[in-house]
Amino acid sequence: MPYLFRSINKRRWDWGAGNPPWLSPGAVPAAPFGDVAPSPSSALSLWWIADDKSNVRRVITALAATRQHVDKYDYALIEETEVRALGIKVEQAPDPCPDQDASNRWHHNLIELTADSLFSLVGLIKRIGELDRLLAPEVEELLKEGLDSGRLEISRVNPKLRESLQRSK
């Protein structure tokens, strides 16, 4: 069963009964919506991930290469069929990226999103999403590998990140 990948901040998804204390039972806090903020055209960027999750690290490498510095990487994996079952349209749409080949193959957008569909998506991620994290040193390793292997197009890697990676070699 393939997945869809979305970058998140794990701490936004911690809510539950009595946490935070001000949250009414059954209510959804606003914080997780920060992780599914759509574009001005009501689209949301996601990445397609194979059943065996074999391309997760490559996607993380491509995304982490646009940052200013190395940091941990939090992400959510949601089964693609479950997203489609919400009635949300999914389309393949390559995006400019330091690993263009990865983007051409796996970048997707959720399109024509409404407030209701975002609410459903947040509920779905909370219910069945696999939330995971790569620690900063692991991300750094991936980035170095990506640069060494030539998979990352150096001119598209954030220049500040590039400098710090070169210094730490």
């Binding site: 701490r11 911690d14 940052r67 510095h69 941990k72 994290r133 620690l135 900063a136 040193p137 500040k160």
Partner: protein
């Protein structure tokens, strides 16, 4: 005409010169009820004119100009002492007992610098991997204030004065800094903050410890994980402890 320095100074209850004393050019206390003056030494521009009235007017004018310029520039004012017994006549540097802008204590300076660093980015722009300006500010605080700066940061993590997400990122920078001198201080800070009331801040401390890369933090992380009520954060704390264990 001799000019009384005090006549130039307002005497309201908020008078910046109130209850001061006069110190002569040779250091002796001349006890002017309202002005405390520290000698700057003999003035090279002593008046030579014998016309007392003209001299007085000039002195008044000079003193007022001097005060205005000095206050505008934030400098201690300099006053020309025209008293009859002030011999030799000198320029004096005015110190006040009730200054409007007192010298801040070091503690306040550290707090101010730290708050500047922590608020240098709008909270809604704080994202993983995009906090370089915050990192520069934190690095500068650690370099300039050492343990005192780290102590202040630890205190801030126990309050709601700073957004938890900002603190989380600041703690990661604490772990990320390349500064051997402050290594143990940073390690102690991060371990201490594992007990913060905020899950986001506890997470930031754990991430900082991972970036610091010291196996000395493993036990503290394991302990924090075993005490953690938030299941998702508990997994993250265990992940951090496992990573550092594998490395050691």
């Amino acid at each position: 005409m001799n000019v009384n320095v005090n006549s130039l100074i307002p005497s309201s209850s908020t008078d910046v010169f109130k209850s001061d004393t006069v110190v002569g050019s040779s250091g002796e206390v001349l006890t002017r009820s309202d002005t405390k003056l520290a000698s700057l030494g003999e003035a090279s521009t002593s008046a030579t004119t014998t016309d007392a009235a003209t001299q007085g007017e000039r002195s008044v004018s000079r003193s007022i100009r001097g005060l205005v310029v000095a206050l505008y520039l934030g400098l201690p004012p300099v006053i020309y002492d025209e008293r009859a017994h002030a011999s030799p006549r000198s320029w004096y540097w005015v110190h006040t007992n009730n200054q409007t802008a007192p010298e801040p204590a070091r503690d306040e300076v550290v707090q101010h610098a730290l708050m500047n660093a922590l608020t240098c980015m709008p909270t809604d722009e704080i994202q993983d991997g995009m906090t370089l300006p915050l990192g520069i500010g934190i690095a500068s605080c650690v370099k300039d204030f050492g343990e005192l700066g780290l102590g202040k940061l630890a205190s801030l993590t126990a309050t709601a004065a700073v957004d938890a997400e900002v603190l989380s990122h600041a703690l990661r920078w604490i772990g990320r800094l390349e500064d051997n001198e402050s290594f143990h201080g940073r390690l102690r800070l991060l371990i201490r903050v594992l007990a913060s009331p905020s899950t986001t801040v506890r997470d930031g401390a754990a991430l900082g410890l991972v970036e610091l890369g010291s196996p000395l933090a493993v036990r503290a992380l394991e302990e924090a994980a075993s005490n953690e009520a938030n299941e998702s954060l508990r997994e993250d704390l265990e992940q951090a402890a496992n990573y550092l264990s594998r490395r050691s």
